[in-house]
């Protein structure tokens, strides 16, 4: 089983974070910095800017942690909200400085861009976190369009096992999306 944080650990982390324990900031950074950074990198297209915005996101999250209400959103969703805002600021800053060519700028016009990117990255990340066999099963289902029977034959697994892997993996990914605030039901 992959070491996904369980609910208790997550609650403890949030409590420590809100209480101003700096080690909690470190933990939060460990857990979410790759997601935040990758979204920034995809949206802004530049390492220096992505690093800069990532820094702003975590500093802002720390400074404004009193604004975070755990009952309203997951920490992940809250961080992604800050990330989106900082990315928008960065785009506006760019437009003011006219640092990017027009054709590139037009790709970044849609405010939904960070949202879509985050969703894709979260799904990609969850797939990568699956255990080896469920991951193989899911990849065959997604990218080679095999039926569960074909997958069972290819991997020499009982069909029931394949079905179970598929269901559990989809549910895991769905749960992660929901807790990030980008859930299918909320989209």
């Amino acid at each position: 089983m992959t070491a996904a944080p369980n609910d208790e650990e997550r609650d403890a982390l949030v409590a420590a974070f809100l209480a101003g324990d700096e080690r909690a900031l470190e933990q939060v950074y460990r857990r979410y910095s790759s997601l935040v950074y990758s979204v920034c990198l995809r949206s802004l297209g530049e390492v220096t800017e992505a690093e800069d915005v990532t820094q702003k996101v975590f500093v802002a999250a720390w400074d404004k942690r009193h604004n975070y209400k755990p009952e309203r959103a997951s920490l992940s969703a809250w961080l992604m909200g800050i990330t989106r805002n900082k990315i928008v600021d960065a785009h506006q800053g760019r437009a003011r400085q006219r640092r990017i060519a027009d054709q590139v700028a037009s790709n970044y016009d849609t405010p939904r861009e960070p949202l879509d990117v985050a969703e894709r990255l979260i799904v990609a990340d969850e797939i990568a976190r699956l255990d080896e066999m469920p991951q193989k099963v899911l990849r065959l289902a997604f990218y080679e369009d095999l039926t569960h029977m074909q997958i069972a034959e290819r991997l020499q697994l009982p069909p029931g096992t394949v079905k179970s892997h598929i269901r559990r993996s989809l549910i895991k990914i769905r749960r992660r999306l929901e807790e990030s605030g980008d859930g299918p039901s909320g989209a």
Binding site: E26, S33, V123, T147, S185
Partner: protein, 272 residues
Amino acid sequence: MAHPAPDLLALIALGEDADQVSLDHVATCRACTDEVHTLQQVAAVGRTLGPADRLVAPHPRVWQRIASDVNDGRVIPLPGAVLLREQPVVPPAEPDPVPFGGLPDGPRDGAARPADAAAAPRSPRSRPRWFVPALAAAAALVVGLGGGFALKGALDPAPDVVGATQLNALPSWSGANGTATVEEADGQRTLVVTMEMPAGRTVDGRLDVWMSDSRASDMLLMGSLNGLSGRFAVPAGVDLAAHPIVDVSLEPQDDPDPAHSDVSVVRGRLKL
């Protein structure tokens, strides 16, 4: 009929064929429709992923800057493991972990120049020493800390930090940065400076560290960096509030003139 088995709903969400009775049920049952619909959305995103859709960990310097920002420049250990999904992040190679606070060799006298005219040999590494201990060592150190945030690198109790600042690049040195902190232990104050130069930029000369007032009218030469970092004893008579500006200047290699060369590389104002 009862709801179809959950496994079957997942297969339907993937677009596999199923028996008509089950399909009819799903079409008319709110709960099953919702379940299949949300799983379909997951599959839809999953199917469109491409090679660019992967998480990338940020460079360790991002954490350094965050830690510096939220701690007013107090030195913070790096998180031990920020892992890429596909491969671990390998920080810039640093063969020996170095205690925090810079190099162990030689604090320099307050305002005196080194006796020999030859400049200290330039460090072959262009990264500040405190930057990155080996990943495993960092993790072990972080795990071993009981509480508090300062790394007790050399086994001494962490000194008090009485002043700190980021050092920001002057316009023609874009990309350079650093930190300056003033530590106090046993009544002795020490100015600790570390710097980073942008890739590809070499230092042709000596980097001198100054403390001055805001108008740069009273400049105290603290000493020269050893490579890109240094520790300098702050004489007891120096009033930090009157000399809050920390300036690192580039002095030509054999410059006989002890005055500031006017070429500042990075500068900051101590928060006291």
